[in-house]
Symmetry: C2
Subunit: 159 residues, 2 copies
């Protein structure tokens, strides 16, 4: 487990969920990610708190979208996932005493905060609806019917 892959995985799930008629159980979703249902529930907690998804317990329960994909940006999901350190490179000390280190920290922090802001700005400008449309174009490109299958691993296109 190298890097935090929750954003990628969560987007994957949300896009599939939109195409389900029924609520998707944690077990069902976990099957798509090839992981454990508890991992799914854990990821989903923040999204539930943010209103991006809803959870229903008991028979016939599971996960449903809290609002349409067009109203969900990558930034929404990223923030709903909770504290995520964006960069793997970082400072050695929080509050350096050494003036040299302070000068280093000032420049590095500036550059990294700016880069992080630009990344998050990009995230804010991308809705899940756009990605869903991209998916549909990929389906059409393979000659498959995008309306049909709530598939995760589509069959290879047949010539």
């Amino acid at each position: 487990m190298r890097r935090d892959s929750r954003l990628s995985r969560t987007l994957h799930l949300l896009l599939h969920m939109e195409r389900f008629a029924q609520p998707a159980t944690s077990e069902h979703l976990a099957g798509m990610l090839q992981t454990n249902p508890v991992v799914v529930r854990r990821m989903m907690q923040g999204l539930k708190a943010a209103g991006l998804v809803q959870a229903a317990r008991g028979h016939g329960g599971g996960w449903t979208l809290g609002r349409p994909l067009v109203e969900i940006t990558l930034l929404n999901v990223h923030e709903a996932l909770g504290s995520t350190v964006v960069f793997n490179i970082g400072l050695s000390e929080d509050d350096p005493k050494c003036l040299v280190e302070q000068a280093v920290k000032a420049r590095l922090s500036d550059a990294m905060e700016a880069a992080e802001k630009e990344l998050l700005d990009r995230f804010a400008g991308i809705t899940l609806a756009e990605i869903s449309q991209d998916f549909e174009e990929r389906m059409q490109g393979l000659g498959l019917d995008a309306a049909l299958p709530p598939i995760c691993q589509p069959p290879a296109a047949k010539g």
Copy 2:
């Protein structure tokens, strides 16, 4: 040890090294970082290969700068440190079969590669000489003489 702090630590060392009359030993440098000499040597290997620093063995040996600070950018140091994963957030799979996941990956990769490029562009535009000057201004701001001390933890300014 959370994040990769080699860039921050290395910059710290290089800036101090410029102010030394003698080569700085790994042990000396390690003292500044409050770590082990081996950690310093390990970080320095890439910089040596890139010509940013030189190593001398034996009596009176140690580390010296390979070229003036004005000719060293943050990008030079970053790249000399070797394979560094810039982002902590990442994709869940390298080569997803699922078309939904492919669409997700495409958008995420685009955004992150663009953000990474911008960060590295920023790094390329900052020389160590600029940070050194920033340091000197901080010294003057405290009423200290920047020319004097090869200090790491400066004494508190006296009123």
